[in-house]
């Protein structure tokens, strides 16, 4: 039996890089062709007035954004720096050029999705706050024709409002709207005597046990709502955006809860499963931090539709009945296992056969939660950039990234036994995300055969 050799490029010392070595990262990732940096170096200086709104270079405060009929991007710029949390001062030329290109792409009349995908897959720099619009495009919430954006947005946002009104009303309000009854005010001084009674029709009283009674349905839904509430309270306890007693944190949690409750009510087949809140959190975070105020105000509605779109590909992971079927989570994990075997048989053999680390122990969380729990929040946003922009689709890309995660720590895994490997995989060590994505990219292009 010919033992499949690990390809040389995998074994190279590049895979234990120093964590912050940006230059080596950029020099090695010259995979896709791009414009020469010189075209965009001038962007560093405020003096240049290209037909595209200026991205905010690190140290320079941008002056008035050019008053064009250009989109939200122009307003985004002025506030762009305030939203980025990463170290602004280290933005390199490459990032600025990518940023500029993205802005050009996004400001076109009809957005070329292929180009956007290509650019986004290299990572969206945090500086210019493009992520919100880019994700909305990639998740097909916004159509490519820019002219249709306002009408589409208005339509979808009002649709969400209707959903909320219909589904989130409590039965008291519903009965109040349905049945006009004569309400007496108890402070009115004229009448004294018996209060008038009216009959209750259709079993519409709170203790009703009838299936069609809104009260009964309400109480049955309360269980799910309680579960959603519990999970929402526990989302990202380290982030002041989500947790804590500040008013904005509370309203953010309230928004998360509303989205999940509306989703659960609209999808009685799948309802709510623990973990959906983790998938929802990055979406809401990005949309809520959109510097365009109108977008930020409607973040809840936008997030709802994008969440539905994102989850549509991954629904089967959450459905317990499908666990063992061809589309369920078990078969996805098996696919990951196969992928690892294709690319790195030695590691696969060591993990599955020698150490007997069942991939379900670690890959389950990686796959169902789309890697949100494995990395820092900012890093997981970068990973989602790659996930959402890949033309192969998020499911395939996710598997490749998981495979890359395993390959990157192969030395430590090969040296470890069951306990240490499991511990390592369940607490994945911090890595350079661009490296990770690069390796994942390579896995697609590299045929699994001996060189």
């Amino acid at each position: 039996m010919v033992k499949q050799r690990v390809p040389d490029w995998l074994n190279s010392s590049l895979w234990s890089p120093p964590p912050d070595d940006r230059h080596s990262r950029y020099s090695s990732s010259a995979v896709n062709s791009r414009h020469s940096p010189s075209d965009y170096v001038a962007v560093d200086e405020c003096a240049m007035h290209p037909p595209v709104p200026q991205p905010p270079p690190a140290a320079i405060r941008p002056t008035e954004p050019p008053p064009k009929s250009e989109p939200k991007e122009s307003r985004q710029d002025a506030n762009g720096t305030s939203t980025s949390s990463s170290s602004n001062s280290n933005i390199s030329e490459e990032e600025i050029s990518r940023q500029a290109q993205l802005l050009v792409e996004l400001s076109k009349k009809v957005v070329n999705m292929r180009d956007v995908r290509r650019l986004v897959s290299m990572g969206i720099p945090d500086g210019a706050a493009i992520r919100s619009t880019a994700w909305k495009l990639l998740l097909r919430y916004l159509p490519s024709d820019r002219g249709m954006w306002p009408s589409e947005l208005a339509k979808k946002r009002s649709q969400y409002k209707h959903f909320k009104d219909d589904l989130l009303m409590n039965p008291s309000e519903i009965t109040r709207r349905l049945y006009k009854s004569n309400i007496e005010s108890i402070e009115s001084c004229e009448s004294r005597g018996l209060l008038s009674r009216s009959e209750v029709t259709h079993e519409e009283h709170p203790l009703s046990l009838g299936k069609s009674s809104i009260w009964n349905q309400f109480f049955q839904d309360t269980e799910i709502i309680e579960q959603i509430d519990r999970d929402v309270q526990r989302t990202h306890p380290d982030m002041p955006f989500f947790s804590g007693d500040m008013q904005f944190a509370k309203s953010n949690r309230e928004a998360l809860k509303n989205i999940l409750v509306v989703f659960a009510k609209l999808n009685p087949g799948i309802r709510y499963v623990q973990g959906m809140n983790e998938i929802l959190a990055p979406l809401f975070y990005v949309f809520r931090n959109d510097p365009d105020e109108e977008n930020a105000a409607y973040a809840e509605a936008d997030t709802f539709f994008c969440f539905v779109e994102l989850l549509s590909g991954f629904r089967d992971n959450f459905c317990q009945q499908l666990d063992n079927s061809v589309v369920g989570i078990r078969s996805t994990i098996t696919k990951l296992s196969q992928l690892l075997r294709e690319h790195d048989e030695e590691l696969w053999r060591h993990l599955e056969v020698t150490c007997k680390v069942n991939p379900q122990f670690y890959a389950f969380r990686w796959i169902t939660l789309l890697l949100t729990q494995e990395f820092k929040f900012a890093d997981s946003l970068h990973i989602w950039d790659a996930l959402l922009s890949d033309p192969e689709g998020p499911q395939e890309t996710l598997l490749r990234i998981c495979c890359a995660m395993l390959i990157l720590i192969r030395r430590r895994l090969l040296a470890g036994d069951f306990t240490s490997n499991l511990k390592l995989l369940q607490n994945y060590p911090a890595t350079n995300i661009s490296h990770l994505l690069y390796v994942a990219n390579k896995l697609r292009m590299c045929p699994a055969g001996p060189p």
Partner: protein, 188 residues
Amino acid sequence: MVLVLAIGDLHIPHRAPDLPAKFKSMLVPGKIQHIICTGNLCIKEVHDYLKTVCPDLHITRGEYDEESRYPETKTLSIGQFKLGLCHGHQVIPWGDLDSLAMLQRQLDVDILVTGHTHQFTAYKHEGGVVINPGSATGAYSSITYDVNPSFVLMDIDGLRVVVYVYELIDGEVKVDKIDFKKTTAAAH
């Protein structure tokens, strides 16, 4: 949207063995937030049963209650409304609106819940509303043998209350409702 159950005068075990089955099937735990009980349960087992329906239980003493430590009257605040509770045998003439109005002014409440007459009534007067949930078991009273089992569920929603009256008439549960509101918010 707060659901408050007003119930009383069960007289278990002396005058009735248990709540009617149809009532019992409706009183499931988890739906009701408060129970206010006018009294005359009379034994601890009934108290425990009511506690399983809702842990927040308020009771006042009826003349036949075996637990002597229930208070004579109780006031509590739910949402924007102040509710008063009293068994009613202390207020004479029994069931008289004017005397109950006096008690209501004394307790300074918007809604007064009393029992003892084993008849459902809901009165309105200048000071507020007086509700008598009747007897939940249909136990005979000092006044009459002809008693329909009844209790009351109040849905307090902001400044508005919807009172659902559950009565067992000829073996069937009949539900009526009464709507009222108050115009000024409670000053705390």
